[in-house]
């Protein structure tokens, strides 16, 4: 079966400014693709290109095997949910949802039936006669989803649909979108700048920066094997610790040395990797640095560190220290004995460690 969405060598420029450079993406039926990146990285432009709302300057785009490069948005068999919801202000909720069907000339009975079905799915039956101005943010969001669902398209497009909601509602709606995806088995492309949304929702993530794809992969690939320093730094909260270090081979394995401002360097042995350049950037997730007294175990190596700041966050406590001239965050157990200004024995787990070249930022292992 043809991929549901296939983008080949897509370029997009406004005048002489290149917004998207050589984009290649393809997803299968049922995939949840998330485009993530900082603002201005071109992710929303790419989504608009997929929708046909922006013409593309080069390359091809096909949906479900049909070439859609120059096809009008209405003929692409897509539905889109916008950041501002873009509900038609003068129409009732019911009219908003059925507007597309009305335009396409679907008969009244089918319209009513589909409206009823979608309203039931999203639990918005009591709102059908209201105008968008009378709805709360979360309700508007649901109506916008309803407008997309009623179309029953090949591909759903979401443009930062949750970023106008408050924090609590955002998490609720996130779960709901995920549930919807599982229930419908539909294919979706979702744009967000929130890396947690990306991690929780996606089956496939595209990380973008400056109009260039940095990495495509499953959430676990992106999280555990970031392709370069940008992805490593962008995905994950708190961010991955990126510490300048030097390496050399010895009998037991790769010896990784991290300099410290006052005191002896930390030396760790990595038995999984070898033959790396001398100067590297060591990438360690905060959860791979633990309180040695609470969480030991195989593969962990202990080092005594001076804790600068302790930030309790409920479930976890973050401890910040200085290693290799950088702030390094450790995600410790809530019951840790870490105290700011005192030494603590920390256990480093190099099992999932990443190495990057300091000059190019590319992954080395």
């Amino acid at each position: 079966m043809a991929p549901i969405l296939e983008i080949n060598n897509l370029f997009k420029s406004y005048g002489s400014v290149e917004i998207l450079k050589d984009i290649n993406v393809s997803i299968e039926q049922g995939d949840f693709l998330v485009l993530v990146g900082p603002s201005g990285c071109g992710k929303s432009t790419l989504l608009n290109c997929i929708a046909g709302l922006e013409p593309i300057s080069g390359g091809t785009l096909s949906i479900s095997g049909r070439d859609m490069t120059h096809v009008n948005p209405k003929d692409r068999d897509i539905a889109m949910v916008f950041q501002s919801y873009a509900l038609y202000p003068t129409m009732t909720v019911a009219k908003n949802i059925t507007f597309g069907m009305k335009v396409r000339g679907v008969d009244q009975a089918t319209q009513d039936e589909k409206l009823k079905q979608v309203a039931g799915q999203l639990q918005i039956e009591p709102l059908l006669d209201r105008k968008p101005g009378q709805l709360s943010g979360g309700q508007r969001q649901r109506v916008a989803m309803g407008r997309a669902l009623v179309r029953d398209p090949k591909l759903f497009l979401f443009d930062e649909p949750l970023s106008n909601l408050d924090a609590k509602l955002r998490v609720e709606m996130r779960t709901e979108i995920k549930a919807l995806h599982q229930r419908l088995g539909a294919s979706m492309v979702y744009v967000t700048h929130d890396q947690i949304e990306a991690m929780t929702l996606a089956t496939k993530i595209v990380v973008m920066k400056g109009g260039v794809i940095q990495q495509i992969g499953t959430p676990s690939e992106i999280y555990n094997h970031p392709a370069n320093l940008f992805v490593a730094d962008f995905m994950g909260s708190p961010a991955m610790n990126l510490i300048p270090a030097t390496t050399r081979m010895n009998g037991k394995g790769l010896e990784v040395e991290i300099a410290r401002a006052n005191g002896t360097p930390i030396t760790l042995i990595d038995t999984n990797n070898k033959d790396l350049p001398e100067n590297v950037i060591l990438g360690v997730r905060p959860e791979d640095i633990a309180d040695a007294s609470l969480r030991g175990g195989e593969g962990r190596q202990e080092a005594d560190c001076m804790i600068d700041i302790v930030e309790p966050a409920g479930a976890d406590t973050y401890a910040v220290m200085q290693l290799g001239g950088k702030h390094v965050t450790a995600r410790l157990h809530a019951e840790t004995g870490a105290v700011a200004g005192q030494h603590l024995n920390l256990a480093f787990d190099l099992g999932k460690v990443s190495y990057f070249a300091p000059d190019t930022g590319e992954r080395l292992n």
Binding site: N48, A51, L53, N72, P73, K74, I78, A79, M80, F82, Q83, S84, Y85, A86, L87, Y88, P89, T90, F99, G100, V103, R104, G133, R147
Partner: protein, 297 residues
């Protein structure tokens, strides 16, 4: 309209506040009198007989109310050699103003919709040129327009005057609608495009229903401009197609012998009534529409 709430300073005596407040009322009262005086004189004079005007006081109320001057002004006053009153010219004005207002408002709405929501190469330049059109003094265009109307065979006709008013109204109507539509999120257009609606469908189903305030503003503006126009009316009309403003001028200026002030006043009020009517009916929307441009999406 934004309500500016003013919190008076806590210090200062109660007396001073009252004095200030009454001072304000007094000043406003003087201004009101100043502005209403001419209207008062016009109305009272129009109900007086000529004898009474000659013998009486300018600002006194009529001793005997007579509608004679109004009747004369409407159907008998002479505009040069014809003596039919302002009636035929009043209808000329209606025939010019209503189509010209409707057409210029509709085209202005479409223009504004395109410039604000369907950006094309050179859209800004296009809009800047339209805006420039608002600032061209009408005297400058009289000769070229006369030639143009002659070439089109519309010189001296009512359709010709409609055409002129539509053309010179477009700058303002486009400006009004463009500024209104530019505040409507472009995602609305995008959503409608994905829903399958085309250019006119989006305009008709989504933008026009949102536009009531700005339509009211534009209609009032255009109606006032076109109804009150004298320059185009006097330049591009001929006997039989003159608007009421030109007829009023002729009535006042072409009387021989005794000046019939009461007839002049009645004719002037008749000529001004439609614009007054539009303001009274739609005035509150006018202020609202001018200030409240934004639409929550």
């Amino acid at each position: 309209m934004t309500d500016i709430s003013y919190t008076p300073p806590q210090s200062g005596s109660r007396m001073a506040k009252i004095v200030l407040r009454w001072g304000l009322y007094l000043m406003l009262g003087v201004f009101i009198l100043f502005y209403l005086m001419p209207l008062f004189v016009m109305i009272t004079t129009s109900f007086k007989s000529l004898d009474e005007i000659r013998t009486g006081d300018l600002i006194s109320l009529p001793r005997e109310v007579t509608l004679e001057a109004w009747r004369t002004a409407w159907s008998e006053a002479c505009t040069g050699i014809q003596c039919e009153g302002v009636r035929p010219y009043f209808w000329n004005s209606v025939l010019i103003a209503i189509p010209a207002v409707l057409i210029s408002t509709l085209i202005g709405a479409l223009n504004g919709y395109v410039v604000a929501q369907w950006r094309f190469r050179g859209a800004n330049l296009f809009f800047a040129l339209m805006l420039f059109g608002c600032f061209i003094p009408f005297q400058v265009v009289l000769l070229p327009m006369a030639r143009m109307l002659g070439l089109m065979g519309m010189a001296g006709t009512i359709p010709g005057l409609i055409f002129v008013h539509v053309i010179y109204g477009l700058g303002f109507t486009t400006l009004f609608f463009r500024n209104y539509y530019v505040s409507i999120p472009s995602e609305l257009t995008k959503a409608a495009k994905v829903d399958g609606a085309g250019f006119f469908r989006i305009f008709w189903s989504i933008f026009l229903p949102l536009s009531l305030p700005i339509i009211v503003v534009t209609v009032i503006w255009q109606f006032t401009q076109i109804w009150n126009d004298f320059l185009f009316g006097v330049s591009f009309s001929q006997a039989g197609t003159q608007p009421v403003t030109v007829a009023l001028n002729n009535i006042v200026n072409s009387t021989t012998g005794v000046k019939a002030y009461n007839v002049d006043m009645a004719a002037a009020i008749i000529a001004a009534l439609p614009t007054l009517f539009v303001y009274v009916v739609a005035g509150k929307y006018f202020v609202r529409g001018l200030t409240a441009g934004s639409v929550k999406g």
